[in-house]
């Protein structure tokens, strides 16, 4: 099987079949990242298509001494974020807020009681909602790490930052997620004593 970089060479020589092969190789992965970032099927599909058109159009800019996969994923992340910003979907969070309430005051999870399964499902929905509220810079690192199962080096290559920076970003993203989640629960007044199932 030809490597991505060899396919890129062929495409640049006018081989459209090579590009078709490249689309087939990456379409699911790119769609995956984009869908997680934008959260809507049709929009994600449109952006994924836009990504491949961009890749085709900018392929001559691809540095053939580097790997193709990070390059195309970088385009995908940037294109998705750019589309989100156009739609002003950015959620600005205040990270100065403190949620100092002890964890035992919050629901969840906290027990493995079978009766808590329903609440557990609800909590998972809460987590999903909290993820969707994170700034895209945080969501992108979380998606690449946990959805795409990439390591810090790979993420760093895609985002164009250092591995250390990726580590910091992931840590901050996790903490931000936790803050949003706890804030939701606090707003809903959920306390342990109100969640008898736990």
């Amino acid at each position: 099987m030809l490597s991505d970089e060899m396919l890129a060479d062929r495409i640049l020589r006018g081989d459209t079949a090579a590009f078709e092969e490249l689309v087939n190789r990456y379409k699911n992965s790119i769609f995956h990242v984009v869908y997680r970032l934008v959260g809507q099927y049709q929009e994600a599909e449109d952006i994924t298509q836009e990504v491949f058109i961009l890749v085709y159009d900018k392929l001559y800019q691809f540095d053939r001494t580097k790997r193709f996969s990070p390059w195309i994923h970088r385009i995908a992340v940037n294109t998705a974020i750019s589309n989100l910003r156009k739609k002003k979907k950015v959620v600005h969070l205040s990270f100065d807020e403190s949620y100092g309430q002890p964890y035992e005051d919050y629901p969840s999870v906290l027990e493995s009681d079978p009766e808590a399964m329903f609440e557990r499902k609800e909590i998972m929905e809460d987590i999903r909602a909290a993820i969707s509220e994170l700034p895209e810079s945080y969501r992108s690192v979380l998606i690449l790490r946990y959805q795409m199962d990439m390591n810090n080096a790979e993420i760093a290559e895609i985002l164009g930052v250092s591995k250390e920076n990726v580590e910091v970003r992931i840590h901050r993203a996790r903490k931000a997620l936790r803050r949003v989640l706890l804030k939701h629960w606090e707003e809903r007044g959920l306390k342990k004593h109100e969640m008898s199932a736990f």
Partner: protein
């Protein structure tokens, strides 16, 4: 271990990304601290959600076909990859050509000045090089004609002092003698270019930054005819035009490939204005604000000026009705690519400043 220290390792602990020693210490702490233990449980659940792909939809089955279809219809940008094969980029090549031409002009003026002076009737004539100072840059590069011929023709140019072409160019022969000119207006860069081109004296590289001059009058009196002198000036071979796929433009003409323009412009049509020899290609672009630009390119050795018939233009634009069909400004200049010289006419509904700026952003490749 204290809770505060545990917090630092919470996510790494749940990602199983800690050393065995540290992990053991945390395990011990968790057995003693229910608060931290709850944090771990919540983090594990977050990880589960973060990794969950069960709700991920699948792409439509025809996705690849749609992408390929769009690429086929939107033109071939991949040929830009030829950039890699050329040491000098198109922009640099173009600028180099213009700089070289400018140097050529200075040398030419220095050589010819003594011969021109006797024919000057007044001080204004002595300002022949003011073509350059008239907010424009003009350069003539010797294409091999003898110095004597060049001198004679340049003298004629100087004698006329202020010339305006009044005769359809298509009806002219390629000799200076057959030109009919009227001494009615100041010498323009464009007329000088045509004079030089038609006579084979030299190739002109020009950046026309002044559009409120008679240059435009010479180029086209009909506002809708983007590059033509007038519709009646069209030679029979240039009536109409052939719409061609952009990716075939360079194949049918051996002209440079589709020009690179700023991303804000989208190619809407490519027209081969020759029906027979295919040596002029016109690219029509537009942007989201419905501004249109038109780029025509031909070999510099082709003696005829770039002209696009009104019919051709309108035919091209009919396919995209919303495009503004009036191109009111234009710039003519030449480019050198791989040793070959081409003439480019850039027109559109942009302001003169925008066109001049755009000219520097457009590049070509063979």
């Amino acid at each position: 271990m204290k809770c505060q220290l545990f917090d630092r390792y919470l996510f790494d602990y749940c990602d199983d990304d800690l050393s065995p020693v540290l992990r053991e210490k945390i395990d011990k702490h968790l057995q003693e601290c229910s608060n931290c233990s709850n944090k771990v449980k919540l983090t594990v659940l977050e990880n589960e959600v973060l990794r969950d792909n069960s709700d991920l939809p699948l792409l439509a089955g025809d996705f690849t076909n749609r992408v390929m279809h769009q690429i086929t219809n939107s033109g071939n940008a991949v040929s830009r990859g030829h950039k890699w094969a050329t040491g000098l980029g198109p922009k640099k090549a173009g600028r180099f050509a213009m700089a070289a031409s400018a140097v050529g002009l200075v040398v030419l003026v220095a050589v010819l000045a003594p011969h021109i002076m006797p024919f000057q009737e007044n001080a204004q004539v002595a300002d022949t090089p003011s073509v350059v100072s008239d907010q424009r840059q003009i350069a003539i590069t010797d294409l091999g004609e003898s110095e004597t011929e060049m001198q004679v023709e340049t003298k004629e140019l100087a004698q006329k002092r202020s010339i305006q072409i009044t005769e359809p160019l298509a009806e002219r022969n390629a000799t200076a003698d057959s030109y009919q000119v009227a001494d009615t207006s100041p010498l323009t860069v464009e007329t000088a270019r045509q004079f030089a081109d038609q006579d084979g004296v030299g190739q002109v590289a020009m950046v026309d930054e002044s559009y409120n001059t008679d240059t435009r009058d010479v180029i086209g009196s009909l506002p809708a005819a983007m590059y033509s002198q007038s519709s009646q000036l069209q030679s029979s071979s240039r009536q109409g035009g052939i719409n061609i796929p952009p990716e075939q433009a360079n194949k049918v003409t051996s002209l440079p490939t589709r020009p690179q323009v700023p991303d804000s412009f989208t190619l809407i049509n490519t027209v081969n204005s020759y029906s027979t020899d295919g040596s002029v290609i016109i690219y029509h672009y537009r942007d989201k604000n419905r501004r249109s630009i038109n780029i025509a390119i031909k070999s510099a050795l082709d003696p005829e000026p770039i002209m696009i018939s009104q019919a051709s233009t309108e035919a091209a634009l009919r396919s995209v009705p919303e495009v503004d069909s009036e191109a009111t400004q234009q710039v003519n200049y030449s480019i050198d690519i791989d040793g070959k010289t081409y003439q480019v006419t850039l027109g559109g509904t942009l302001t003169p400043e925008e066109l001049s700026e755009l000219m520097n952003e457009i590049s070509f490749e063979n």
